[in-house]
Symmetry: C2
């Protein structure tokens, strides 16, 4: 229930899955909801807790499988330095985003257009980049 209040991001996810022929199953959808609802990076085991209102169900593989799926579609990002996950509102390609994480309030802002590295080593071909900035956001500094 409360499906009427589908967030735009959730709706975009459904559209994306349709396009790619992927299945946004209830579990995957629920995990995405939880990540999107959070106001900051979420830990896998917090998702796990949130996922088990009933008994028995929701073991680690459940949430990791859902996260893997969502990461693959670029619907969530992993914050490597925190071992945590954030929802992605842009639904861009999975390439990787540039994340700005406020150490005070925990909020995460996402920028796109990967910064061309000043100098790439001779012949190095980049496939995936992890770019995470930690600091203090404008709100927390004012």
């Amino acid at each position: 229930m409360s499906r009427d209040s589908t967030s735009p991001a959730l709706h975009a996810a459904e559209t994306l899955c349709d396009e790619k022929g992927e299945r946004l199953t209830p579990i995957r959808r629920r995990v995405l909801e939880l990540v999107l609802e959070a106001d900051g990076p979420v830990k896998a085991y917090d998702l796990l807790e949130a996922l088990k209102p009933g008994p028995g169900s929701a073991k680690p593989p459940t949430v990791y499988r859902a996260l893997e799926f969502l990461l693959g579609l670029g619907l969530v990002h992993k914050v490597e330095a925190l071992n945590a996950y954030v929802g992605c509102s842009h639904s861009h390609d999975t390439g990787g985003a540039e994340l700005f994480i406020c150490s005070d309030c925990g909020s995460v802002q996402e920028c796109h257009g990967a910064p061309a590295s000043t100098q790439t080593p001779d012949g190095f071909i980049i496939e995936r980049s992890v770019v995470e900035h930690f600091g203090h956001c404008g709100n927390c500094r004012s």
Copy 2:
């Protein structure tokens, strides 16, 4: 890489510690050696194994404490996306380096001069950046 008994990096580390009034104890020195000798990122528990020729000694806190010390001095970097550690030959400030990790051979190259991010969110002040690029190095592509 180098297996010299007195690598330049090790000597530089001693100098740095002298300057900063820090103590490069045998354990810390041994951990640094191990990280520098490795030809790629090293896992904490691999260090732990390498550290225990004798019985009893070398429990997790031992290696994590040494790593924390070395990270603090910028003598090693943590590869967040791998939960692994690499030696730093530059002995620059702890600010953070830009790492290029070859997925084929595991080698890590380090560049400096942090790439100005294309767009920093309004008012965001960056304190620490994690920049890790994964791909294929020139050697592995030729």
